[in-house]
């Protein structure tokens, strides 16, 4: 068969080019140009120990921390090895029950009024590092109480950690929960 030779040879050559050379070149350039980002935007503590990634959310349920979005990852929330959403349908009774429970948990800790949707509905990635400024807002009073901080102090901290829309127009304003909570802990020390 006349086409067999080019088929085999081209497959091998393109496997080397696209599967080997290409990612290697990208890695090479990336490790020089954007070393931190290429390695996962990791956050280190004072000692230089890696304590997380600014892009990967962590689970918080203690009243003294800002709570992140609900996460539907398997085994435990914010499991980075099992990224994904709940995939629950909008009319699924199990889903509605879960949301009701989350609403209750938030209300039990003193939030009244409307509850921001992102605080009770699970994220797509299950690792969403952000919450909306509104979701941070409703938690300020609770944090202040739990930590014995003035609400204003917390509010300022939230404001400082609120990222605006990218380039002024893209996406939503958002608050990085892990960074904010680390800052809270730093404040406590």
């Amino acid at each position: 068969m006349k086409e067999l030779k080019p088929a085999i040879l081209l497959l091998i050559i393109f496997t080397i080019i696209c599967g080997g050379i290409y990612p290697a070149v990208v890695s090479g350039i990336a490790s020089v140009a954007f070393p931190n980002k290429a390695k996962g935007s990791l956050i280190t503590d004072k000692s230089g120990k890696e304590i997380g990634s600014s892009l990967i959310g962590q689970p918080f349920s203690d009243p003294k921390y800002f709570w992140p979005r609900p996460s539907a990852t398997t085994e435990f929330p914010y499991n980075p090895l099992a990224s994904g959403g709940s995939n629950l349908g909008p009319t699924n009774s199990a889903y509605l029950k879960t949301v009701a429970e989350r609403v209750k948990a938030i209300k039990d800790l003193g939030v009244s009024g409307t509850i921001p949707a992102d605080l009770v509905q699970a994220s797509a990635s299950g690792l969403d590092p952000h919450i909306s400024p509104e979701a941070a807002q409703v938690q300020i009073a609770r944090i202040g109480k739990a930590r014995g901080l003035a609400e204003d102090t917390v509010r300022k901290l939230v404001a400082a950690h609120t990222e605006d829309r990218q380039l002024g127009i893209l996406g939503n304003p958002r608050v990085n929960v892990l960074a904010l909570n680390l800052e809270l802990d730093k404040l406590a020390q």
Partner: protein
Amino acid sequence: MNLYEWLETILFFIVLLAMVKPFGAFMARVYQGDKTFLSPVLVPCENLLYRVCGVERDEEMDWKRYAVGLLLFNLLGGVALFSILLLQHLLPLNPQKLPAFSWHLALNTATSFMSNTNWQNYAGESTTSYFTQMFGLAVQNFLSSATGMVVAIALIRGFVRKKTSAIGNFWVDLTRSTLYILLPLSLVFAIFLVSQGVIQNFSPYKTVPLVQPVTGTTTVKEVTIPMGPVASQEAIKELGTNGGGFFNANSAHPFENPTPLTNMVEIFLILLIPGALTQTFGRMAGNPRQGWALLAVMLAILIFAMGVLYWAESAGNPLVAKLGVHGINMEGKDTRFSLAGSSLFAVATTGTSCGAVNTMHDSLTPLGGLMPLSLILLSEVIFGGVGTGLYTMLAFVVIAVFIAGLMIGRTPEFLGKKIEVREMWLSMITVLTSGILVLVFSGIAMMVPSAVASMANPGTHGLSEVLYAFASMSNNNGSAFAGLNGNTVFYNLTGALCMSIGRFAPIVASLAMAGSLAGKKYVPPSLGTLPTDKAPFALWLALVILIVGALTFFPALALGPIAEQLMMIR
């Protein structure tokens, strides 16, 4: 939509429309063998490749030889990937010591990547080694996209050429697609993605302590963050409308899509080649207006779908509203993307056959979820996959031209080529294969108890999950109502069947049509010829696409998303 979302959306389409024309022209030059700015570097590489592989660069093929080469090449690629998956545990670059795939999952996955579907019945971070990702999956991401593109180009040649059997040289077209188009763009955009935070490394997974350990049934004090060469994969995954995520959460994962800007860039990459190919077509056919007319039809339907999706999601879920939570439906969406950014991604990824997601489609409101599902069910022509979108769209054009031609009392013709019995058969195959597969296999699934048991949601939504699964696989999309547990023998095998038939039947039909058209003589237009590059025909084409889709799937959709939406709002 708020002001920012309007700006974001409008700006996006301005950039896209500004880019398709020059890029389409560039692709036309590449496939015609004209000189481009990359030629000085790449022509020598190209020639070396041909010499090594025994390819005569000026030797043209008839459609049969072209198809044989294509099928053989894809088959070999599939077999290679299948072997890699089965032997994963023995191969290098596997820092997590991940085991081999089961045979049926390997079969499903190999077919999936070979067919440009990238349906994933596995979670990337916990099942695939770096070697598999790079040398298996990413390679197929390149080659399956190139395959789609060359078929479109061969079909364009069919329309343009006269009284010849030659439709091009498969090996040359394939090589040029990869070297001139896919690789350079992937390289540039991969580096851009890293600059925004997409990871690119070969390190083992990182273990970090939790600030607040998880207590409860199990105690978790530290977590493992997966690593890998993500950016290089991410770029081609979007550019080649492949859609297979490095991670399970796909483009919702912060390591794949860290910022609103990467989100927009990824959507741009998804739509770029399919959109620009309309211009390549217009240019090669010597009628740029024709390219714009096709693009206009695609754009109109895409924007309409986006509007409905946005509206449905922003209206939120009334059942959740009863719990005191108002506003948009945030289930399955990440915070950093605006609703416009999520909606646009959802319609772009399903209008094309990409299938990457930044939103969990399973958790969309029923009406919202109906949009991606419908876009897939329209046979992937709203931009469509790289190449596949154009050749499937051209099959729709042939059908639309045929009926319209009769209605004005002429033997139908398009671009000066008469549409006859053979073209009708072939375009019906191209257009209807996926629909037939969806109807047959979703019906079978409903009769198989284990298949029904795979549903994650009960009732209408479960039905939607199964319908979406077969729609996605048969149309080589790859996105999912991902609650459905697809990693079962039933779904792995039926899926592999759907993906391969849904991919290669239209490809062979399109190549046959290219051959048949190329052999015809050219009929110059006269006053009696229906102009196919103006608004009335474009409108008619859109109607044909929508009506064929609606008539085929309305009953099934009525039992799925439509019934669910009505139940939800009442």
